[in-house]
Amino acid sequence: MTVSPDGRRLLRLEVRNAQTPIESKPPWIKIRAKMGPEYQELKSLVRREDLHTVCEEAGCPNIFECWEDREATFLIGGDHCSRRCDFCQIDTGKPAELDRDEPRRVAESVTAMGLRYSTVTGVARDDLPDGGAWLYAETVRAIKKLNPTTGVELLIPDFNGDPQLLQTVFESRPEVLAHNVETVPRVLKRIRPAFRYERSLAVLTAARDYGLIAKSNLILGMGETPDEVRIALTDLRRAGCDIVTITQYLRPSVRHHPVARWVKPAEFVEHEQFARQLGFAGVLAGPMVRSSYRAGRLYNKARPQT
């Protein structure tokens, strides 16, 4: 294998990944694919409005369950990311021209879907002078303007840790500001080379200091040890993170990083308990959990009680 399905020449790293065939899965990596009426309707809405969802772009196996419950995570900024992480299915490449009308269409789709809680993430836009900060902030504002009672969870890249760009994003006041460290520092250097562990922790701290609820995610099965997971959870909590999701790495294709281990459901339970003891307000851990999975319910557990 030397070319990708879209005809692009493979990176050397992808060639090396492809030498390890797709692993067979343990019995708990299984979902029921029921393409129900709500799923079908959401699919046509997304097509009609020319929207992108991370559910589709990342080939999420939970799509049938979430979309049937009318939960979707929008992907803004196009379908090409300016950074390459070895676990991620989203294509890396030169992103398309900034689409300034996208926030309006996302907001109208939130209305059309009747969402009480919406999750929005996006690609890194290192090609833009502001890294896409305006687009992220404007999307939150547009959703809230049109849907005043809808909560917004915004999952952002790191904007290189630039305080001014982060400020621009935070001012849009999403209910939850998420930024995923994704893995432990030792593994991060290799798998997420455009990111820095400490810088990501600092983004979470900045969000907390601004008064937002901060959320992050750890993907297990990329070479970390259970001890390193506990250290990372401790780091996240210390950085001011309130909500954490802990998930199993699912390899998008043979060109991506091989699965280092299938974490048993019991280990997820242990990490969940450990995280609760650290004082996280919301914790969701499990093999089929993804970072935006059941986001509205998790937020409700962590929100300030009125």
């Binding site: 990596i29 393409m35 999420c60």
Partner: protein, 77 residues
Amino acid sequence: MAEILFPAMSENDPEAEGVVSTWFVADGDEVQEGDLIAEVAVDKADMEIVAPQAGTISILVNEDQAVTQNSPIASIS
């Protein structure tokens, strides 16, 4: 008649393939809506396919045969 499609897997790669790893029904079987009829394997996960309606099943692909996403694997009439 209802077509049963192989689940969608990738937006960026329309030719993405998977396989039906197990058929739990035989050609010509009667099924009820919601019956488990097949397990398919894609890169990220294994997926169970259930019957979208009741009827008689016609199987269109063999086990372990590569199938392109969104293409029919069976029909129910």
